[in-house]
């Protein structure tokens, strides 16, 4: 997809003026976070399971080459094919070749962030193959021609009224000529329209939440059942997955499953978890005849062995964005690429380049809630800090920002001078503030004072208070 991360500031400014988005984000803040906390508290073993899930992923990442080869061998043994794709372009071409081989005209699609990453829909359409999203959220944003704004609720930014308009506009061709306003009926309409598409599609493309090395199985998790119809009805099933999705055994998947849905939607278990292994067997009476796995690297192998490796533990539950005050304020589209929220701020600089995404690591208050709720305990704030350091060192941040940091660094390295300067600053600021104790404007501080006053510091500096306390306590 088109990267607009460079415009993070403009994007977020616009987002914060959008009334519909404000309402939608309010629902994210309430709904998902409460549900997660209830689900976590109802399972006494939840914290230990998070540790175990982290350990399983770490072990895989240490030996990723071996696990991938093992997985490949098992897929092949079950009659499927693995396509190792180094780049997004390789993946698109591999998918196109499979579609061409079966002369595909239409492709149904289950929800897959990797196909967003490789911008598959636009590509297939340009090659004369019609991609049809089947997850309701993905379907809505496909009609709206927008990217997803949340990794598990792609249309979370859309209101019911907007869905009404979209369906009214696009469903007339199927005989739905009234504006439908009841959400239940809207879902029914999408169900009816898509039902026939499942049956007539030539190829079904799904993502994968996990790849199981032991059995060569791919696993999808859905609530709607769209993924299952997508993969069991067409003659060809293509699974598009990135390489860090591999998990050693079915037992290990069971462990990670226990933290996935609870962290994502607060469900104990998603409605449908499906394990697919190879094409239909000789005596099977349904199922796809061809089974392909597109294994995408897309910049991930370069993260192995670096401070970014821990990001590859991510199981894409969305908990970090559900709990992020910055995401709550600016929404998913502001981040300007496939992955929004803290995980996006941490991973997009690697995927699209730090120059393009340099604002994203700054879009954090470092409150640490993302790390607190991450089911596989990814130290997101630490990784955001890493990117900030790199932006400084590689001189990607603009000069005034770097000068500011250098100036602060100069003082911070000289404690006596630092204390002297802060004491002076405190005095100066309270003098400037006068009786009111508030500053209406501040040189270099317009970003703050243009919308609110700055309260002047009161009393002594932190160090002064600290020393006083130490003396008092002897």
């Amino acid at each position: 997809m088109q990267v607009t991360s460079r415009k993070f500031k403009e994007n977020s400014h616009k987002a914060m003026q959008d009334e519909n988005l404000r309402a939608a984000l309010g629902r994210v803040k309430q709904g998902f976070t409460t549900a997660r906390s209830v689900a976590a508290s109802e399972l006494p073993e939840f914290e230990d399971l998070r540790d175990k899930a982290r350990d399983i992923k770490d072990e895989v990442l240490e030996n990723l080459d071996y696990y991938l080869e093992y997985f490949d061998e098992k897929v092949t043994a079950s009659g499927g094919h693995v396509h190792w794709c180094s780049s997004a372009k390789d993946a698109r071409e591999a998918i196109l070749k499979i579609c061409r081989d079966v002369d595909a005209k239409t492709v149904t699609k289950g929800k897959s962030m990797i196909t967003e990453e490789i911008a598959l829909n636009k590509f297939l359409a340009s090659e004369g193959i019609e991609p049809i999203e089947t997850d309701l959220g993905e379907y809505i944003i496909q009609l709206a021609d927008e990217p997803p704004s949340h990794i598990i609720g792609p249309a979370v930014h859309k209101t019911k009224e907007q869905v009404t308009e979209l369906f009214y506009e696009h469903h007339q061709q199927y005989g739905y000529t009234e504006r439908e306003e009841d959400p239940e009926k809207l879902v029914g309409e999408a169900r009816a329209v898509l039902r026939h598409k499942y049956v007539t599609a030539d190829v079904g493309i799904t993502g994968a939440n996990f790849l199981v090395a032991e059995t060569g199985s791919t696993v999808i998790v859905t609530n709607e059942g769209n993924g299952d119809l997508t993969q069991s009805l067409p003659k060809t099933h293509i699974v598009v997955a990135s390489l860090e999705k591999v998990i050693p055994t079915l037992e290990d998947v069971s462990t990670v499953m226990r933290v996935l849905a609870r962290s994502a939607t607060g469900q104990e278990m998603s409605v449908y978890t499906t394990f697919s292994t190879g094409p239909k067997r000789d005596d099977d009476i349904d199922g796809p005849e061809n089974f392909h796995v597109i294994l995408l690297d897309g910049g991930r192998s370069e993260m192995i062995g670096t401070e970014l490796q821990e990001l590859l533990r991510c199981i894409r539950c969305g908990a970090c964005m559900n709990h992020c005050p910055v995401y709550h304020a600016v929404g998913g589209h502001s981040y300007g690429w496939v992955y929004p929220g803290p995980i996006g701020a941490a991973i997009n600089p690697q995927m699209v380049g730090l120059e393009e995404a340099r604002h994203l690591p700054n879009a954090s208050t470092f409150c640490g809630r993302c790390e607190e709720v991450c089911p596989v305990r990814i130290p997101l704030p630490k990784i955001l800090r890493h990117w900030r350091e790199e932006a400084f060192e590689k001189q990607i941040a603009p000069k005034p920002e770097r000068w500011g940091i250098e100036l602060w660094g100069f003082f911070a390295k000289r404690p006596a001078l630092y204390r002297l300067a802060t004491r002076a600053a405190v005095k100066l600021l309270s003098l400037m503030a006068g009786k009111k104790g508030r500053l209406k404007s501040l040189p270099f501080g317009k970003g703050w004072t243009s919308v609110r006053d700055l309260p002047a510091p009161q009393g002594a500096t932190f160090m002064e208070q600290w020393q006083k306390k130490q003396k008092r306590e002897g």
Binding site: L49, H83, R281, G305
Partner: protein, 226 residues
């Protein structure tokens, strides 16, 4: 260079090593082959009678319905009254499994029984579960010649038959049972864990049932495990 060589080469370069030495490969292969249970929540590790209650409770929370019958012969009657009660058609698509085809359907002549794969026009589908998992109220369905997976998804309404003796406490125990049952043929093409009927919250986070899969799920729990 192939994609495979590129990717493996990069991973190994990042790890500053070549392919894993043979002894380490053997260790990991043995670890996979052992497929050990990890931490299993205590919640499901209870006697079968209590597991049946837990399974039913969890399923009902997920907005599925559960009905208990004494023995398999009671199923057709139970199906008939369920369909009548919910004003559903009497034509049922059933999996071509002896567990269903051998039931005394002739006792209930008003029911039209059709065997085969799931189809677009099916209003009611019925299939046998391989196992049940009490921990979260989950069915394990295994595909095969007699158990096409489309029957679980295409019909508007899904009835699943679960024998109480096939109820387990955890996913891991269900995998153990499946491994044992398929040790010659290997894992089936499709294994579905199903926890309740289809739903979506993609419009303003409102829960709406019947997104793409069945709008209702009715589980008939057979026997008491003895």
């Amino acid at each position: 260079m192939t994609g495979r060589e590129k990717i493996l080469g990069r991973i190994r370069a990042q790890k500053k090593r070549g392919a894993l030495p043979a002894d380490q490969q053997d260790l990991i292969a043995a670890r996979i082959a052992k497929h050990e249970h990890n931490l299993i929540p205590k919640r499901g590790q209870i006697p079968l009678k209590e597991q049946m209650d837990l399974f039913q409770l969890k399923m009902e929370v997920l907005l599925a319905t559960v009905e208990r019958v004494k023995e398999a012969a009671d199923i057709p009657k139970a199906v008939q009254s369920y369909l009548a009660h919910h004003n559903l058609p009497t034509r049922i698509k059933i999996s071509p499994s002896e567990r269903l085809t051998d039931l005394p359907w002739s006792d209930i002549p008003t029911l039209e029984i059709v065997t085969g794969v799931g189809a677009e026009e099916d209003e009611v589908g019925m299939s046998p579960a391989f196992a049940g998992i009490a921990e979260t109220g989950t069915l394990m369905m295994a595909s095969g010649a007699e158990t096409p997976s489309t029957v679980n998804f295409l019909p508007e309404n899904h009835i699943a038959v679960l024998n109480a003796k096939d109820l387990t406490g955890s996913y891991e125990q269900a995998w153990d049972a499946l491994r044992l049952a398929t040790k010659d043929s290997g894992i089936p093409r499709t294994v579905n864990f199903i926890s309740g009927p289809s739903r979506t919250a993609d419009i303003e986070q409102r829960l709406i049932m019947g997104a793409h899969g069945p709008k209702s799920l009715h589980v008939i729990l057979v026997g008491d495990g003895t």
